[in-house]
Amino acid sequence: MDRREHLKLLLAGGVGAGLFLATGCSEEDRRQSEEILRDTGYGYGRADYEEEHDRKLFSETFFTETEFEMVKVLADIIIPADEESGSATDAGVPDFIEFMMKDYPPFQLVTRGGLMWLNNQCNSRFGKTFLGCNEAERLEMIELIAWPDRAEPDMQYGVRFFNRMRDLVATGFFTSRMGVDYLGYQGNRPGFWNGVPEEVLAKHGFEYDQKTQDESIKEEDRYRIAEWDDDMNPI
């Protein structure tokens, strides 16, 4: 597929719509389309003015290369890989943070300043920037700002900065495909809600009483056009 075909498909359906399977496109097509999606903001029900806004944000770059490297290192300190999933950078979190800097400008100064503050601290302690430090030195520094309840008063600048980074990294990870899988979210697919599974109910000490069972919607009735008796009861 060429770029135009990708755009056409994206405008028609978006990468999440299952259209790729339907149209017989390959995994490579899907990957390319996702890149274009990131480049253009197309594909999830945008109004014209929103599409224009997103395209503008994607055309700008906020972080310098050095800053972006620092964001990557911090992201993987906050959400590392483990036996169950990849890390924040594996999930594309730094790109999300870059986007949010432009999408919510109040993030810009505090994040840029926070990264510089981190470099200043590392320069004072170790005589090198954060990226110049080895892993042990980086962690020694992070330990001083990662625990708000026990951080020293003069570390508060760092605590606030790191709280914000923790929020952004965590939210970026847990809203990525990888993070949603790790979290175990089971929804966003058409189905029928027939109540809490019985074993879960039992574990929490609940049951549906007879009234609830009688009055609640039953799966076999959902496509029957509603009718009522003279006492306003559904039949």
């Binding site: 405008l11 028609a12 978006g14 999440g16 719509a17 594909g43 999830y44 029900g45 944000l57 906050i78 590392p80 483990d82 594309g92 999300f96 986007f99 999408d103 919510y104 625990w147 708000p148 309840d149 026990r150 709280n163 923790r166 929020d167 952004l168 939210t171 970026g172 990870f173 847990f174 809203t175 990525s176 993070g179 790790y182 175990g184 979210y185 089971q186 929804g187 966003n188 697919r189 058409p190 189905g191 029928f192 809600w193 109540g195 074993e199 879960v200 109910l201 929490h204 609940f206 609830t212 609640s216 919607i217 959902r222 496509y223 029957r224 509603a226 009522w228 306003m232 009861n233 559904p234």
Partner: protein, 579 residues
Amino acid sequence: MSFEMIVPKEKYDVAIVGSGAGGGMAAKILSEAGLSVAVLEAGGFYDPAQEEYRTQLRWPWESPRRGANTVRPFGDFDAAWGGWEIDGEPYLRKNGTSFDWFRSRMLGGRTNHWGRISLRFGPKDFKRKSIDGLGEDWPIGYEDVKPYYDRVDKLVGVFGTNEGLEDDPDGYFLPPPKPRLHELYLKHAAESVGVPVIPSRLSVLTRRVNEERGACFYCNQCNRACNVYADFSSGTCLVQPAMKRGNVDLFTNAMVREVLTDSDGLAAGVVYINTKDLQEHRIQARVVVLGASACETARLLLNSKSVAHPNGLANGSGVVGRYLHDSTGSDRMAILPALFNRERYNEDGVGGMHVYTPWWLDNNKMDFPRGYHLEYWGGMGMPLYGTGSGMESLRQHIRDEFGNSSPNGGFGIGLKKDIRTMYGSTVGISGRGECIARYDNYCEIDPNVVDKFGIPVLRFNYTWSEHELKQAQHMHDTFEEILTAMGGILVGEKPGADQEYGLHAPGRIIHEVGTTRMGNDPATSALNKYSQAHECKNLFVVDAGSFVSQADKNPTWTIMALSWRTSDFIVEQMRQGNL
């Protein structure tokens, strides 16, 4: 989808301003009666069934901001085009007071993203002044509106249960969905402290009501507007079906700036500005129906001055814009440790709560008039922007098998696991109550400012009174009582008097009503009991502007019932040759 330019008829029977709940219902009823109808919508065409508008069933990563609310006020996937602030369409506030005005510029208006809570007003709700001496009675009673509530139930569809409650009347309900797990915890806890909990009443189709609309498939995303029309939106369920049957011309991107009147002071049509090319157009009509939303309708009337109506159209009484009131609203959240590390299953359900609490106490025994209802939230919802944040203060609530508390903040695999542990364990309660309508809460035309279409804008003056403050204080006592009985860890502090007991700013609940209220006395009301202007017999209002009081109920169901009633009246009056 590109829409062809419609060539307007020389004269319509009816011109309807606005395509939301009120305008949409009027368009359907009037066109089915054989009248030719023009619907003017300030925003663009919208249909969630068409792929280019669809946000339903999207994943968080499809949004580069992961669903954050930096562009759309209720998040990136929410259906509303518009919000509290719209570029080029300002409004102002007076005397240091606050009011936030939400506008959706799109076919169907705010019915595309609303919470679908569909509550009939009860017999007492129409006669509050007779009960507590405050505000004003409606010129009509429940018995006048009941037949229309019945029709709306059957046409539009609402699930719920008949409970025989005096002021929360029974209806023609579809079967409700079973409660979710956190809702069982809340129900159990609430009932243990004397707060009743019943199935909620939402206009979501657990069963089909006709061949044109599908049944709910339980994705929890009604606020994104439904692909198969299994929830109610005016565009999908009223305006588009009416257009298919004929007699309706829809003009989108049509910002009405004035109602035209003739030399007798009767309505003759409307003037609108095409928001795309900024050209002015006129629509002639025998009857003009305003359903632009309470405040937008007031603005339009006040901006429609003429020799016959020097104070603005239908405003000889000076009440247009007055008696503005929105629901009270306050909320509280808790963490429920019993839900830590909970079993995973698809808990989406419908787009909203499956159970709720209608007002249950006797105001004779309270220190405030009027009630509030309780809405419940929580569950294993789709992770969106914000998921996993706040661990600098929330993480301490997680304990290991030895009872040791996790430290706040941190990083690494432990943090990652703790966020997963906490997922789906937050629950909350929102109180939504009735504010007393007061003359001194109002919107009016600002003498200095126009919007980008050159139309003078509104300015607001709105304060909460002692009644609303005491009610909100009571709400918070209730929240704490229920959440604590549930075993929840309360998050944040209980707001005190200095924070107006956590009351959201007026307008934030988006239930504003009352600006063109109905009444029998033309000196104190703008409309008669059929929502017909006292001073202009072929002018009607079908939005919540006609409300005398708002009840502790969400207004949409009453807007539709009254719009249907007014539409029947218009048809009858036209048949009799009175219009």
